[in-house]
Subunit: 255 residues, 2 copies
């Protein structure tokens, strides 16, 4: 082992001011940084640091490389955007540890949390996740589509605000449209939908649309979608580009 360790770290949504000191310290001590190309590109090169960018959908290979290097004595950081525990690399590393040789579990391993996309998007818009909420990954790469539909429907019945990760990709453009249809079936009201694109980066764009007017093409691969609950409120701001959006802390009536 000779001092090797593995940290699975969240880089937050994009702005370096949202990277925790814990993550910065781990990156400063690392000998190796492993992750998806655009996330590794956020780590500045320096002497003594090997960058290992890899393509999407090779998460388990990446996890095994990280585990093996750390057990050989390297100081390894696996980077994810946002929080590593939310639809990101942490689960892939534990999957590799569960299914691989059990002796590898002697590894010195830490998960370093980060600002996940829904919290960054929520902060920019106001506080739409200020009451009970759920987070659903709309990608059906790793789960059957009917499970997604069922979860969205039950979440609407529970009157959760909802944060949708990966709402839309080129390979499955019709899924998110179907989710919007389900929401319109389950929610009779005009509740607001937040489309928050590339939050905390120079490409940031926010847009709030009432559910009846929401369209799937308002989201792309860099968009986080937050659906209000029945209680979510819009507070207009004179002269500002977007209104504030928030969900009150208190709920007087049974929905």
């Amino acid at each position: 082992m000779s001092g090797g360790w593995l940290a699975i770290a969240g880089l937050g949504p994009g702005d370096d001011m949202l990277v925790t000191p814990e993550v910065s310290a781990a990156l400063g001590d690392a000998t190796d940084v492993i992750g998806y190309v655009p996330y590794v590109a956020r780590v500045p090169a320096r002497e003594g640091l090997t960058l290992h960018p890899s393509d999407n959908r090779v998460e388990i290979d990446r996890a095994n490389l990280a585990i093996d290097l750390a057990r050989k004595g390297h100081r390894v950081v696996v980077v994810s955007s946002g929080d590593p525990g939310v639809f990101a690399m942490a689960a892939a590393v534990f999957e590799a540890l569960e299914h691989g040789d059990p002796t590898r579990r002697d590894i010195d391993l830490r998960v370093l949390p980060g600002i996940t996309a829904m919290l960054a998007a929520s902060a920019r818009a106001g506080a739409p996740l200020g009451h009970d909420f759920c987070a659903i990954n709309l990608s059906d790469n790793l789960k059957p589509w009917p499970v997604i539909e069922r979860r969205v429907r039950l979440a609407a019945q529970a009157d959760f605000a909802m944060a949708f990760y990966n709402p839309r990709s080129r390979s499955r453009p019709e899924g998110f449209a179907r989710v919007l249809d389900i929401l319109r079936e389950e929610c009779a009201d005009e509740r607001p939908i937040l489309f928050a694109r590339a939050v905390s980066t120079p490409q940031e764009e926010l847009r709030i649309v009432p559910l009846p007017q929401a369209r799937a093409d308002m989201a792309d691969m860099r968009t986080m979608v937050i659906v209000g609950s029945s209680q979510t409120r819009i507070v207009p701001r004179p002269g500002a580009a977007t209104s504030w959006l928030y969900t009150p802390r208190s709920l007087a009536m049974v929905p």
Copy 2:
């Protein structure tokens, strides 16, 4: 206005290494810090900074004080633990702005996200929130108890992992016991429950218990509870105090 602003900031779960540089910068520029006593106590006193600690359950008074000071030209930070948008002060400030004099909406206002308790707890245990999940505040101070029961039941039917904030307080010790009964009714399996107390502080304690053995008195006011989904896995570690807990990214079967 003369340069006044209001930042609603998340201090994270307790460790200063989990405070974002954005929040530290706002605290460094502030003239006034406002919040619940134990959170204000985390901000070091310095010349030119007025600390305004206040008691629990006066969130709207606190919000109005912050808005009024900022509009008089003060640089004000309202502090919450964790993330200010998750069961914390941001929603209270927008509530005050919605229901107060609309001219106050000219305020220079930012919400600065933080590491919320569920992400810190999840990171310490592994990655139990690695697939779809929900966050429910079990306090019935601000919502009727039947809504909580209904949400827990629907969340179990949706097979979400669940993060429970405020699971148990002295004033309502029976609520969480009732929630555990509902989970046992809805979930026939031995899924793991994580009790994560005071994460990232010297008092940190983690405990993983299968649902049939979970008891309400395993949680107190400083405990975050995470309930696994039907897919959540325990990975034993030889020689370690606690096993790793994670929810796989992929779901092969319809639950």
